[in-house]
Symmetry: C2
Subunit: 578 residues, 2 copies
Amino acid sequence: MLLLRHCRCLTRVGLLKTQRVQLLQGVALPVAVCSSHRGHKSGQYQRSHGPNWRHALAGLLAGTGAVLAYGLHHSQTEQAATTIVQPIAPASSLPIYTQDEVTKHRSVEEGVWVTYKGSVYDITEFVSMHPGGDKILLAAGGALEPFWALYAVHSQDHVLEILSEYKVGELSAEDRRMQQSVKSTDPYSTDPERHPALRINSLKPFNAEPPAEILSDNYITPSAIFFKRNHLPVPQVDPKSYRLQVEGVPGGAPLSLSLEELKTCFPKHTVTATLQCAGNRRSEMNKVKQVKGLNWGIAAISNATWSGARLKDVLLAAGYMPEVVRQTSHVQFEGLDSDVTGTTYGASIPLNKAVSEEGDVLLAYQMNGEDLPADHGYPVRVVVPGTVGARNVKWLGKIIVSEEESSSHWQQNDYKGFSPATDWDTVDFKSAPAIQELPIQSAITQPAEGAVVERSAEEVTVKGYAWSGGGREVVRVDVSLDGGRTWQVAQLQSSEKGQVPAPSPPPGRAWAWKLWELTAPLPPAAQELEIVCKAVDNSYNMQPDSVAPIWNLRGVLSNAWHRVKVTVKEDEEEQKLL
Amino acid sequence: MLLLRHCRCLTRVGLLKTQRVQLLQGVALPVAVCSSHRGHKSGQYQRSHGPNWRHALAGLLAGTGAVLAYGLHHSQTEQAATTIVQPIAPASSLPIYTQDEVTKHRSVEEGVWVTYKGSVYDITEFVSMHPGGDKILLAAGGALEPFWALYAVHSQDHVLEILSEYKVGELSAEDRRMQQSVKSTDPYSTDPERHPALRINSLKPFNAEPPAEILSDNYITPSAIFFKRNHLPVPQVDPKSYRLQVEGVPGGAPLSLSLEELKTCFPKHTVTATLQCAGNRRSEMNKVKQVKGLNWGIAAISNATWSGARLKDVLLAAGYMPEVVRQTSHVQFEGLDSDVTGTTYGASIPLNKAVSEEGDVLLAYQMNGEDLPADHGYPVRVVVPGTVGARNVKWLGKIIVSEEESSSHWQQNDYKGFSPATDWDTVDFKSAPAIQELPIQSAITQPAEGAVVERSAEEVTVKGYAWSGGGREVVRVDVSLDGGRTWQVAQLQSSEKGQVPAPSPPPGRAWAWKLWELTAPLPPAAQELEIVCKAVDNSYNMQPDSVAPIWNLRGVLSNAWHRVKVTVKEDEEEQKLL
């Protein structure tokens, strides 16, 4: 963001349109060559800066992709921010603003203000020129730092130079201090800082999802915006004293592993896997009839690269012998997160998934190449690829092989699917199996519900994600612009944009989502588009058409076709003709 | 059938209604105690035979189930037919009829005639009294023998006694000979005899399905009515000279096995597995828009018990070593059935399915406890549980481990799914994966489309089957009587009715279907019911709501909700009141 500052005059002479076309291919490209000063005439600008601009854009296109993911690159980003970005000297002539005053400026109508290292900027005029589009508004009323950490391309000298010209004041000293975390005796007081882009569904325990329009920008979701689904306060775990207990292996002996032993005694295995909350898209069920649960949008799903020891290897070390253990056994997991009574989070998976050579179940200590973040289970979590998020137990304390499933509330009396006919008076949780593998899923991340598409654009680009549980690979996504009457096939993407696609996974081990995109001509007569997507996996399972027939009292497994309505705005000239 | 002969007079005094209620619980129960002669008054009958009738019915209910399956019991049946059933002596006074004349009598309006061992019977009057209901009409115009073989309870002396009283003539000598198989130089001339109940979609090659109302009578489908899906003429294989070739195992050596070696050198493994044609329910897609392919109804699916050697064991014997073979390899199968150019039927499955301990892939030489029938691949076929029928190659000649899928037409250019937008001008068969695991499926077998339900019955019983591919267990079937607005949960059945249910299969190995049933009150005001079913598997995949959005040019993978419309007939008295 903040990259096309001095180019705004170009909107009037059409060059920006050309830029936008090129930018579309690169997603949120920084075009950071506009170093001239305010007051230049557009013609002058075009002459003196046109070639440089093209040169710089070409360089960026040839690079490693426009958007560098926070999770993979934030070390570099932090470093860059420290070394390149110098605090802008306070100008005593500018007014002091409180955070409250800044927060009031969150729209183009009210003005769009942001803070950066204690200074306040009014970037209202810049919003329409931002190469990343409306995403700039996610930072409105708040600090830029976390967004620039996410989109590392901003950490360049000239971006700061541009920003400096929008400065309108200083943040009050008190609010600068307030930007640090506040600690208290609240059990949640030690919860980590979170990225401000996250849309919070519940603060305590913390449950939040990224804005949908950001989600599909990265094939690997940056850890900072990876959806968070905590059931309890985040435990503080000392990696030095941490022990992982393994119990109940028939014929084996209890095992206790330090973090170091887990890391060094077992081969490190890396898997890219999508996790999804069972309640993803619950808000659509709530529209049919109220359900119990967090009102998730479409982004309680994210994709990351996980590294750790294979659960299978650890169970073998604990004495697991296939011929001794019943096929119908389970592997239970206990978290170190607990409520006031000391009850810990718990869940279990079938033994055959845990010990399968092809199950890829990890005791992960890294996410996106770094130590697990606190919100994602530091120091060790289970990653059960293809399986509902709830079984991917974080802050893992204990593993128990048992003939029984976990006795925890979350295994026995939650995370199960029921008929639309079942209500809280009639529900028998014993009658349904615990959710393990999830069904085929997809959703539209762009455009957003209610967006406006210009008729002059002549076409519309639709983006989204698609994933299926159980290692079933997404093989096709169909997109409709007319509510499901006619369909077009979207382009699938299984790596970061611009990178060489990863080879197809072995059968049954497609753990990662696919992003997808379709650019299609605008239907000539339509004033409104009802955009719909539906995905197909390689077992040819398809999403159900509508929400009501799959409605269930807990609002889980919401995987009907996703629908987004957008308006087509006729051009003024055409409108006059009409 | 033909069991309540002399009870027809009772319809007028209401006893039959009582019988029907009891019979409903036992499915097609023979009530074979009516040995009195025509002309008895109903009152007399009730007095003299009532107690006996109750006694016999109780005995049958206490037996091993009312309907004995042909596939499991036809040896006994054949024997019974030979020893018990004596040819009925031709009465010279009765006329001679040709088969053509008999064939004209296939409805209650035209008269219902059947033949049995050369005699002709007019059973029109008996139809309404048949405990098995309308199923008796399946035999109309043809021979009784194959149906009695299927429903072995008919093979009792008193049934013959009843039948004899409906005799109206003799079948011509020529037609008696014609009932033997006709042989010719036609490549299909050596195809085996088939059960006349089958609904034929194509005669050459032979493709046929059982009537839906029969399908769900047996948890294990009798082999004779198991759906037949041949691509080519049935080959004549001499079991003595038969060899199974195994090739292409990296690091191994070619292997050639006799039938005897296959049976004796490898452990015999038994699996109950449902097979389904990719084109099952294609007729519903044809109603949306014409597709290419056989117009299957809802019964191109059946369930059987298969025994044979594990493919995994045979590959190990051929030198298979997991560490030597690429994970992405395939196992190709070649059939011994071929066209005039010598091209054989072929297909392949992913190697990981073939060698998985939990894949249960068989080289089967038995079906339902007996040698494979000719139509089902005698002497050896592949059974790939959870996988589309087309990969379960029959008359197996060769197994080839390869880095490539089978190059056969049926693997490369058929049995693939496409978007509704894809037509024969735009289709690129390379763009879609070969169908392997099938998606969740269910259908209603009773009542039939257009059936009439009496208001006085006060309730309606709906029956059907449900199955999912990939070893995913069906966990719920929802049934709606109002087109999908409200739902009720059906009762699932995973063994023959009246038998102890089989224990739950290990996770991922639920290869067999579940039958289901729901008896629900008739909605008070409804004059028509739109009955709908949808199933859910343990990955919580659900069937799509409607056919059009999953329509594809080959008409495969037709698994939308199944819908059946029935009429509610008001009672005469109530109608008068209205």
